[in-house]
C-alpha cells in the first residue's frame, strides 16, 4: 500500500447515491422589485442614483457600493444602450450542444454603472462592440415583472 497507488478500475469502488434536496423562492429585494415592476408596468429601465456621489447603477441598489449612502432615487434610462461585449454560446450548463448557438450581449447605458446581459438578436455579420441596441419587450399584457419581460436586444 502506498499513497501513490492509483485505482484504475473505478467501477470496483463501492458507492452511494445522494442529492441535496432543496428548493428556493428568492425575493427580488427592495431595489429589484422596483426595477422589475417598472419594467412590467411602464416598459422602462430604471437606474438607482446615489444622493451623495451621483453614481447611477443598473441593476439598481438601495445603497451606494462606493459611499454606502442610502439610495431612494431612481431615474429612467430608457431602453437604448450600447453593446459593451458579446458571445456566441454553443453548449448549456450540462454540457449539451445547442442546436443553434445562443447570442448574448452585455449592454451598458450612458452614464450608468453596470449593465444588462440578455439575448442578442442581431445578425452575426453586423455585430460590433459600441453599436446602439434597444431592448425588445414582451407586450405589456404578457409581462410578469421578471427578466423574461425582455425578449432580446436588437439594433437600435
Amino acid at each position: 500500500m502506498s499513497f501513490q497507488e492509483q485505482i484504475k478500475k473505478t467501477t470496483s469502488l463501492g458507492f452511494f447515491e445522494g442529492q441535496v434536496p432543496l428548493n428556493y423562492k428568492y425575493t427580488m429585494g427592495v431595489a429589484g422589485e422596483r426595477f422589475f415592476q417598472t419594467l412590467r408596468d411602464k416598459g422602462d429601465f430604471i437606474a438607482s442614483k446615489c444622493p451623495e456621489c451621483g453614481t447611477m447603477a443598473i441593476y439598481p441598489l438601495i445603497y451606494c457600493e462606493e459611499c454606502f449612502a442610502e439610495i431612494k432615487d431612481y431615474v429612467s434610462v430608457g431602453l437604448t444602450g450600447e453593446l459593451y461585449s458579446w458571445t456566441e454560446c454553443s453548449s448549456d450548463f450540462k454540457g449539451a450542444r445547442h442546436e443553434k448557438p445562443h447570442l448574448l450581449g452585455m449592454v451598458r447605458f450612458q452614464g450608468v454603472q453596470g449593465g444588462i446581459i440578455h439575448r442578442l438578436d442581431v445578425p452575426l455579420s453586423e455585430i460590433a462592440i459600441g453599436m446602439k441596441v434597444i431592448a425588445v419587450l414582451r407586450p405589456s399584457s404578457q409581462r410578469k415583472g421578471s427578466l423574461d419581460d425582455i425578449q432580446c436586444f436588437k439594433k437600435a
Binding site: N23, T27, M28, E33, Y63, E66, F68
Partner: protein, 387 residues
C-alpha cells in the same frame, strides 16, 4: 500575550423576520450602515471587513461571501468570509478581533447575515448531507432528530422533566417582548410549550427557535482609535473557540466539553478566574431551550446539572443574579443563524453601556459572556466583553 486590545464601538441590527423582502446584500447593508452610523464612521474609515454566514444552502447562493460583499461594504477592500456552522455569529467578531488584535488594521467591520426564507418549504434539506452518508443518511435523519437524542440524554442524566426545560423558552420569549428586532416574542406558559406540536420527542415546536431572515454588524477598533471614537467602548477582552469530534455519536451528549474549552480560552485571556462570580450577564446560544442550560454549564456559570433548577428559581431572569439571554435569545428574538450569534454580542455591548432600554438589567453590569454553537454539536465560540 502580545495582542492589541480591541473594542466594540458601534453596532447595528435589522429586524428578524420570517421572510424579508430585502435580499441578503440589502439586509447586510442595513446592519452595516446602522453600525457605522452608530459610531459616526463612514465606509471609507473601515480598513478591513469580515463577514460571517452559515451554509450557502440557507440563502441558496453558492459563494455567499462574494454575494453579500457589496452590502457588507467589501468592494475593493480586504474582505473575507468566515464560517463555523451555527457558531459563526460569535466567531465573526472573533475573526474581526484577529484583524485588529494582530495589528493588521485599526478599524474592522464585522457583519453577519442569514436569509433562510429563500429555502422552501424549510431549510431542513440543507442538513441532510451533514450526516454521514453511509452510516446515518440511509435512516433519513433530520436535524431535530439528533437534538432529540441529546435533549433526552441530558434529561436522563440529571433527572429533568420537559417542564424543567420549557421554563427557558417561557423566559426568553417573554424577554424578547422588549426587543425591537424580535420575531417570536410572547407570553407563554410552561403548558403552552409542553402542549405545542411534537416534532421528535422530547422536542416540541415551542422548544425550538424559528428560522428567519436578518443581519447584524459591529465595528471593532484598536484601543487608540476606540478612545477617540467613544467614551464608552466595550472591550473584547477574551475570545475562544473549540471544535469537538465530528463523530457525534461518540460524545456523552449531556455536557458540551468543547464549549468549556472555548470558554476557558476566553476566560484566561480576559483574566477571569471564577466565571460564576465575575460574569454579570450571559448570552448563551439557545436555539433549543435545553441548549441554554447545556451552555450555561459548559460556560462554567453554574455546576453541572444545576442550570434548570437555577432557572426555576429566577436566577437567570433579568432581575436575577445572572441574567441569561436578556435579549430574548434565539427562542424569542429569532434565529437567522449567524445574525443571531452577533445579536447576542450586540446585547452585551448595549447592556454593558447601559443602553439596553427596557431590557436593561439592573446593577450596572461590567462583564458579560456570549456564546454560539453549531456544526454537528461540535463547535463552541465564546467572547468575553467588559465595559
Amino acid at each position: 500575550m502580545g495582542y492589541r486590545r480591541v473594542a466594540i464601538v458601534g453596532a447595528g441590527l435589522t429586524k428578524f423576520v420570517r421572510r424579508a423582502q430585502e435580499t441578503g446584500p440589502e439586509l447586510s447593508w442595513q446592519a452595516s450602515k446602522m453600525a457605522l452610523d452608530s459610531c459616526s464612521l463612514r465606509l471609507k474609515d473601515v480598513e478591513m471587513i469580515t463577514l460571517g454566514s452559515a451554509p450557502d444552502g440557507f440563502d441558496g447562493v453558492h459563494m455567499k461571501g462574494e454575494y453579500l460583499l457589496s452590502g457588507a461594504g467589501g468592494s475593493n477592500k480586504s474582505y473575507i468570509r468566515n464560517f463555523v456552522g451555527g457558531g459563526t455569529g460569535v466567531f465573526a467578531p472573533i475573526h474581526g478581533w484577529m484583524h485588529v488584535a494582530s495589528g493588521a488594521c485599526d478599524v474592522c467591520l464585522v457583519v453577519a447575515e442569514e436569509k433562510m426564507s429563500s429555502c422552501h418549504p424549510t431549510p431542513q434539506g440543507a442538513f441532510i448531507t451533514i450526516f454521514d452518508h453511509t452510516t446515518e443518511q440511509p435512516l433519513k435523519p433530520t436535524l431535530i432528530w439528533i437534538f432529540a437524542l441529546e435533549m433526552r440524554r441530558y434529561m436522563e442524566r440529571y433527572g429533568l422533566t420537559r417542564a424543567d426545560i420549557a421554563r427557558v423558552a417561557v423566559k426568553n420569549k417573554k424577554n424578547a417582548m422588549d426587543h425591537p428586532s424580535a420575531q417570536v416574542a410572547g407570553e407563554y406558559t410552561v403548558d403552552d410549550i409542553l402542549n405545542s406540536e411534537v416534532l421528535a420527542e422530547p422536542v416540541h415546536r415551542l422548544d425550538i427557535s424559528p428560522a428567519g431572515d436578518g443581519a447584524a454588524a459591529v465595528v471593532l477598533a484598536s484601543e487608540d482609535v476606540a478612545k477617540r471614537l467613544t467614551d464608552r467602548p466595550v472591550w473584547l477582552d477574551g475570545v475562544g473557540w473549540n471544535l469537538d469530534t465530528s463523530y457525534w455519536a461518540t460524545k456523552d451528549l449531556y455536557y458540551p466539553r468543547y464549549v468549556e474549552k472555548a470558554a476557558r480560552m476566553a476566560y484566561d485571556m480576559a483574566g477571569i478566574k471564577e466565571p460564576h462570580k465575575e460574569i454579570q450577564v450571559a448570552e448563551p446560544y439557545d436555539p433549543f431551550d435545553y441548549k441554554e442550560l447545556h451552555h450555561m454549564e459548559g460556560l462554567l456559570l453554574c455546576p453541572r446539572g444545576e442550570a434548570a433548577r437555577l432557572t426555576a428559581e429566577g436566577y437567570t431572569a433579568r432581575t436575577g443574579n445572572l441574567p441569561t439571554c436578556p435579549s430574548g435569545g434565539a427562542l424569542g428574538v429569532g434565529n437567522p443563524i449567524a445574525a443571531t450569534g452577533l445579536m447576542k454580542v450586540i446585547e452585551l455591548f448595549l447592556q454593558l453601556r447601559g443602553e439596553a432600554g427596557k431590557r436593561q438589567i439592573p446593577g450596572k453590569p461590567r462583564v458579560g459572556v456570549a456564546q454560539a454553537w453549531g456544526d454537528l454539536m461540535q463547535v463552541g465560540t465564546v467572547v468575553v466583553c467588559r465595559s
